[in-house]
Symmetry: C2
Subunit: 544 residues, 2 copies
Amino acid sequence: MLGLMQQRELLISSFLDYAEAYHPTVEVVSRLRDGALHRIGWGGIAARARKLAKALQRFGLRRGDRVATLAWNTHRHLELFFGVTGSGIVLHTVNPRLFADQLRYILNHADSSVLCFDVEFAPLVADLAPHLPSVHTYVALGHRDELPDHPLPNLVAYEDLLDAEDADFAWPRFDENSASSLCYTSGTTGNPKGVLYSHRSTVLHTLSLMAVDTMAISARETILPCAPLFHVNCWGIPYAAAGTGAKLVLPGSRLDGASLWELLRDEGVTFAAAVPTVWLTLFAWMEQQPGLDPAALKLRRVLSGGTAVPRLVIETLRDRFGATLQQAWGMTELSPLGTVGNLTPRHEALDAEAQMALRLKQGRTIYGIELRVVDEAGTPLPRDGSSVGLVQARGPWVLSGYFKGVGGQAVDADGWFGTGDVGTLDADGFLTITDRAKDVVKSGGEWISSIELENLAVGHPAVREAAVIAARHPRWQERPLLLVTCKDGRSVTRTELLAFLEPKVAKWWLPDDVICVDALPHTATGKVQKAQLRRDYADWLERG
Amino acid sequence: MLGLMQQRELLISSFLDYAEAYHPTVEVVSRLRDGALHRIGWGGIAARARKLAKALQRFGLRRGDRVATLAWNTHRHLELFFGVTGSGIVLHTVNPRLFADQLRYILNHADSSVLCFDVEFAPLVADLAPHLPSVHTYVALGHRDELPDHPLPNLVAYEDLLDAEDADFAWPRFDENSASSLCYTSGTTGNPKGVLYSHRSTVLHTLSLMAVDTMAISARETILPCAPLFHVNCWGIPYAAAGTGAKLVLPGSRLDGASLWELLRDEGVTFAAAVPTVWLTLFAWMEQQPGLDPAALKLRRVLSGGTAVPRLVIETLRDRFGATLQQAWGMTELSPLGTVGNLTPRHEALDAEAQMALRLKQGRTIYGIELRVVDEAGTPLPRDGSSVGLVQARGPWVLSGYFKGVGGQAVDADGWFGTGDVGTLDADGFLTITDRAKDVVKSGGEWISSIELENLAVGHPAVREAAVIAARHPRWQERPLLLVTCKDGRSVTRTELLAFLEPKVAKWWLPDDVICVDALPHTATGKVQKAQLRRDYADWLERG
């Protein structure tokens, strides 16, 4: 027997409708290319998103077509988030920092018809254009007088598009399982793979972001998302901000200390989402400025994800800003959210050091996502905080497969998605990521965390960067091999570094060798290319 | 093009799974019949709910069958919330305060197979049983030694049922649109009508309850729901408590001042949901107790709905308890939530009196529900805080029709449900209910609020209770007629009462006559039966 409740589709347009109806004057503040701040209310964003929707119709776009973006966090990019998806068209956000061959691959794989780009990316787009047969229209996100000189087919200025339309447009209704947006994983190996979100998955994920125990986004917040809009839909923050009428402060491309400080102070930011590097940059800038009073800011919560957060960042935010840092863990395939570091009353009764231990974990499992760790045979391991295994996820905002079937079966028969992360879960649902599955060192059946060894190695005063890979070993199958680069004018020997590590790790975790190199290879997003290192050094221990 | 995300069904069992996995030791505290407190963790609730599910299977119940309850707020009733719905069976909660003929009608209309009841309702159930052909099993919610002596077919003790099972049971997965629970409106006219919720509507409604701007239920809260579990699923609080791992404090049948104070103080209640009467009872009891310090309680938020909240209650909670009262508005047909009185930063910048004016409204429209006011022709009215019209609602947790089609079409072609309430909406989405549509007085095309006149009339020191009805009028179609009862030993004349009202209302709002009566007729839930009054007095002004 079915219930007798309304079958109202869960559509992204409902968030913008809510913001427009009840919070039309709440501001969206954007840092423009010239550094100036642009202000518009949610009502204005909604009206412009509707004009955009009409312009897209005029382009002949149909539901399911893709519109790609190469853009920073500004109101125009935000309008695309709603105008494109609200029309039933798929928003394909692309990371402009990727290598040119990756950009070509992604844009062609997605078959995007329209490419919208920030004017400063015009040279990049001009280089790409000859290789993008599917793109029939290029939209420069600015006014006509900002149009680049580069030759691009059907190049139009975004503001001209909007000026030609009125806002008399009602968001269409369609199947909530329709595709809404497309993000590609940054994949350190192989080609990027596309994750195709649906309106339903996005709405459910956004409802979670509004929950107290998740991101607690509400009308009370002024949110500074330093995480890029092209990075997993900026963790879904734009949708939750609209769905609650929160004030948004979009930093454009400027994440330097002075620019961020100005936004934090002048816009009354209460909640910021940014990786640790952003905070370290801000702290370094602050040290050069006399008389700053971070405690006077309204900043109370900081969300950080994507990489483990150094204790120093947590403590500085707590002690100087009076702000709580919450680690979060997620991935493109999870929309992205799986955990957020919210403590419960029981945890808040712990002493400061015990609380810090929890804050250093990657967050607590949120309602809506099921997480588990399994061994290599797929058998679930206990949630005891120490059993290390492969992290799997399941839920209504987890992918079912990659775009166009790339990579084959993405989830098992029970719906579990192998995240590729290795870690532990504790009884409270706190997740600790210890490694990527492909980077872990399997020594005689036991797992050694490459990340943990790297974190220890960079603690040596001479070391700039460290990478641990699994080298083949005749007896133990694999053993850790440590590669380091040194700081300018410094050096370190194998013996010194092993002596430095020895008291800090179990004896069998000690790397079998240490190699000092001039540089480590990196991906476009700054990650060490361990696949490259494995190709070069996997037989190192067998060579001797 | 469809997205490529998991089609994981939204099922109520996911809330209990979450509580069991991550908050197994968080307590559910229940006041038992003898006044003692019973304690169990969410892990225990989950294990017992699974045993219950196995027992229901043994009864031969199939998906879609109905299990009815007549019970107060205790852990056993809570277990039924999860054990029944999680099995795909429909939980039919019944208000034991209804008149016997209503109970018979509702239980027969629902075709419930099993009736679970608190032992104290045994005499009531014994009277009902001969008239309930569909009920084949009676479950007394207690131990075997508490079984009543009344002759009931297939009478079993709940604890015996559970003792006979183990907890080795996995919640089934099924269509998220399957019916989950059934609540009947208390309808002041005609027979009660059933609202049949689905798992999907319940999960979406519950996600809203976790949102900061709605009920903000989280792992941080200790929740005292004085609202009965049989009243629209206790506003959905049990589901949200499980889905966040909040501590629950269930007051049983005891809502007296001493009992509530003990729970508030000893259990560290942070959030309570209760109608104003409960608070007025508590305040009256507190006045008799020396040395109480309500400011020392952990109570910070109070939710109240179902009736307008007197200013005194809001002020006392604020000034003596340090707690914020939030009005909420909803109805059985809305699962029930439509508005919650959360202020935004802009409102919090207002002065105390302006804030109070907002707190006296029935709450702010929440994301997920669309509300509008329309005139009698169905034309939407402006959201200006003053245009009075019929309130309509739409959304994924609004009904599409009543159980078994009773009452015909419940929503219009666009999905709008006519709530039967009359009121205003302002630009921020704050709702003010001025009347029920069937009670409003339509005088020469203008509407006069019966509720507002009644609230003013009871301000007269001699008046105990007041009711305003529309009496037919030869020129104005309808004019207000005021009926009052007087406090013991007090009396008031027509002239005195009209003189009292005259400075408080527009001249054309003044009742055309005042009738002092010995008593007003009431429904089982304590509402004045205006339908009865209309039958008796509608021609009063024409009689003269």
